[in-house]
Amino acid sequence: MRLLWILLLGTILLWGCDHQSVAPAKDGDGEQPPAYGDTLLMGSIGEPSNLLPVLASDSASSDIHGLVYNGLLRYDKNLQVEGDLAEAWEISPDNLTITFHLRKDVRWHDGEPFTAADALFTYRLLIDPQVPTAYAERYRQVVRAEVPDPYTFRVTYAKPLASALVSWMFPVHPKHLLEEGDVTQSPLVRAPVGTGPYRFVEWVPGEKVVLEANPDYYEGKPYIHRVVYRIIPDPSTMFLELRNGGLDLMSLTPLQYVRQTDTPAFRRMFAKYHYPDFSYTYLGFNLRRPLFKDLRVRRALAHAVNKQELVDGVLLGLGVAATGPYKPGSWAYNPDVRRYPYDPDLARRMLEEAGWSDSDGDGIREKNGRRFAFTIVTNQGNDQRIKAGEIIQRRFREVGVEVKLRVIEWASFLKEFINPGNFDATILAWTTVPDPDAYNVWHSSKTGVGELNFVGFKNAEVDRLLENGRRTLDRSERKAVYDRFQEILAEQQPYIFLYVPEALPAVARRFHGIDPAPSGIMYNFIRWYVPRDQQKYQR
């Protein structure tokens, strides 16, 4: 989850910067020299909950952690693992031990030197049963963590763990400030001290969080002097603030991107980017229901859904049809899986073959006296899912399947419907991370109440693949495992994978040096700059 947020901070696979948004030649990138100074204003819908990463699990907090803290490792612009606080690392031949060699030139924001003791302390914090953290699971698999010398940190696992390496991207916490007393009551909860490119300045509750460039950052002082997160709970207000110059960076909705920002005035002030986001939306069938036990039925319904129509209607074209659980273009993605082109005639034929036919002429199919009718549930507050549901409802009706759509408040939705498996089908989305481990969502052992395989998917081969996948470290061997896994999912259609939306950030044009890459635009944030004569804020 933590990794997920790190990535959300700035994950971008650039399929094409919006051509309309290319800056006019006179203030094009690279012409003016970088300069220090100016402030970047970002909007945040929610107030951060907790600025100690070990305790937080919301995206507003994680955005700030990303600038204040460093992990031992991080993803580079192409989503390859690279050293952060660790300048090098090695994995033992038996794949059980990872040794990190840490940088010697890093200091905490209060001037104390960073050492391996901090890394060890962070690990202990993560596995401490007294610490209410959501991240403990992965670190419990470490059997030994040790500090052979002040700049070496070594962890040993009982079994090889493929996601072990990326788990050390978790922000490192300062031992000297946290070892005394209860971490949940530490002042660092509201005033963090990290090693990152930005130092915490102030947090005015309900209003803003202010960060300032760290002049001693080990990679050099960031150009942009200050970063202000303004807490603006309403998306419409946020958009008005953006247009008014009160924000410099914001993620747009498809509607804002296509219809509301296509004006010369907006284009003069902002550059828009679009690239696939790290998530996918799906229609999941409850496989415990007799209706969906029949593979022919699931496949027929897959042929009845027009994914391109969903992309066009729901995302206004800003997305791509999904074929599986991985992001198109990422290393684990397998493009050669069975696809289900939109073909209502085929869908009707397949339903006939499966024994569902409309014998009483009311337009809805029946089999053994049972009508083919079911309910799709989804959560309140996500218009895109509701719209997708409505479009799917119509398409299913056309092949003789009656669908009701029910929208439920989030907590009740999980508690009453998803967790107990009390639903026919649901439209939901998963956030994806670069590591393809999908054990928790697809393994047959995860079908219990409140677990993530709530559709009840059980497949012996998938179980084996998922177990091997998380124990295999070699990239090409792993790819073979997950390629096969994607083939089976595509064959079995426990979900109809609907679409991968795009992230749609708009950034004020005075910021230069933005270089979109597979990992996003934020990865080189410390190299963004505003040329001297365009700087807006002096202090």
């Binding site: 989850m1 909950s49 699990s57 919301d58 959501a134 009551q185 309403d234 207000t237 009740s412």
Partner: protein
């Protein structure tokens, strides 16, 4: 009188207990728990973690035990610590939000009174005139206009297009570098739109109420007497009628005391104002039980006190009630 007040205060205790018990049970009946945000649909969260978190919050204990513990803390005037991830004392969180909310609500009630009392009087005195009809339409338009819609329109037109007002928040960026006078001007500038929007919807109720009272009073015999004495119409209306027509306003003001801390989720969200409404709403959404209970208790106490104060003030203002 003092005995009466003391009796009323004593009676408030069981009432308050009842209110808290019912609130406590009802909010726990709603599906979802404070730990959900961390554990639901999170691939990293195990069942064991869920249990551990629940135990940390005492959520694994029977409801009545939880209530008892909460009540015990409340007896020491301790609202407990928030269940959301910042774990801050509830009292601190509320104290942080209260001043802004009270300020906006006082300003807005002030504005409502300032506008609706004269509106009501004039409408009553010139009943069925063009003015009366126009105000009726106007105030009901205000009543019927969704505040979020009005707010967004004003922000777009006056803020983005004309640039007259800031869009959201209470302070400009760089507020802390301004002189003290400028700081106040800055906050006032930011307050104009939110106060206007929150007052606009309230005009209808109050001005109609004022009009109704005034009409009632004007029909009384003593007004007829005053007129018969040959007093000027001005003196009749403003000295004799208005004073009596204002009496019920005391009740309304008493009832609006809890509203002072209530705030409104809608306009606080739209204007990005960190007030009580948003705090409470977020608390409910995250099932932050101590926070919800804290706000409810304060609200309940203020409601009861407001009623009491209104009764006392009414008695002080109106000799008929005092003697009766």
């Amino acid at each position: 009188m003092l005995v009466h007040i003391a009796k009323r205060l004593l009676l408030m205790v069981p009432l308050l207990l009842g209110i808290t018990l019912i609130s406590f049970v009802v909010i726990h009946l709603a599906p979802g728990e404070p730990t959900d945000l961390q554990t639901q649909l999170n691939p990293d969260a195990s069942a064991e973690l869920r249990e551990r978190l629940r135990a940390q919050y005492d959520l694994d204990k029977p409801l009545l035990v939880q209530y008892g513990k909460w009540l015990g803390r409340l007896a020491h005037l301790d609202f407990g610590k928030s269940f959301v991830q910042d774990r801050r004392p509830v009292a601190e969180k509320i104290a942080e939000r209260l001043p802004v909310t009270i300020m906006i609500n006082v300003l807005s009630i002030g504005l409502i009174l300032l506008v609706s009392v004269p509106l009501g009087i004039v409408s009553a005195v010139r009943r069925n005139s063009l003015f009366d009809r126009f105000t009726t339409v106007f105030v009901f338009l205000g009543f019927a206009t969704p505040s979020f819609w009005l707010a967004l329109l004003l922000m777009d037109f006056l803020g983005v297009r004309l640039g007259l007002f800031p869009i959201a928040g209470l302070k400009s960026l760089g507020h802390e570098y301004l002189s003290f006078g400028r700081q106040i001007a800055d906050v006032l500038h930011h307050l104009i739109l939110p106060v206007f929007v929150s007052a606009f919807g309230g005009l209808a109720g109050f001005s109609r109420y004022m009009r109704g009272n005034m009409l009632e009073v004007i029909r009384q015999d003593y007004i007829l007497t005053a007129r018969a004495k040959g007093l000027s119409e001005r003196a009749v209306i403003y000295r004799h009628a208005l004073r009596n027509a204002l009496l019920p306003v005391i009740t309304i003001l008493g009832l609006s005391v809890p509203g002072l801390i209530g705030g409104s989720v809608i306009f606080e969200t739209i204007f990005a104002i960190p007030g009580m409404g948003k705090l409470f709403y977020d608390g409910v959404m995250m099932r932050d039980y101590p926070l919800i209970m804290g706000v409810l208790v304060i609200g309940a106490v203020l409601t009861l006190l407001g009623n009491l104060i209104a009764d006392v003030a009414y008695a002080a203002a109106d000799p008929r009630i005092r003697r009766g």
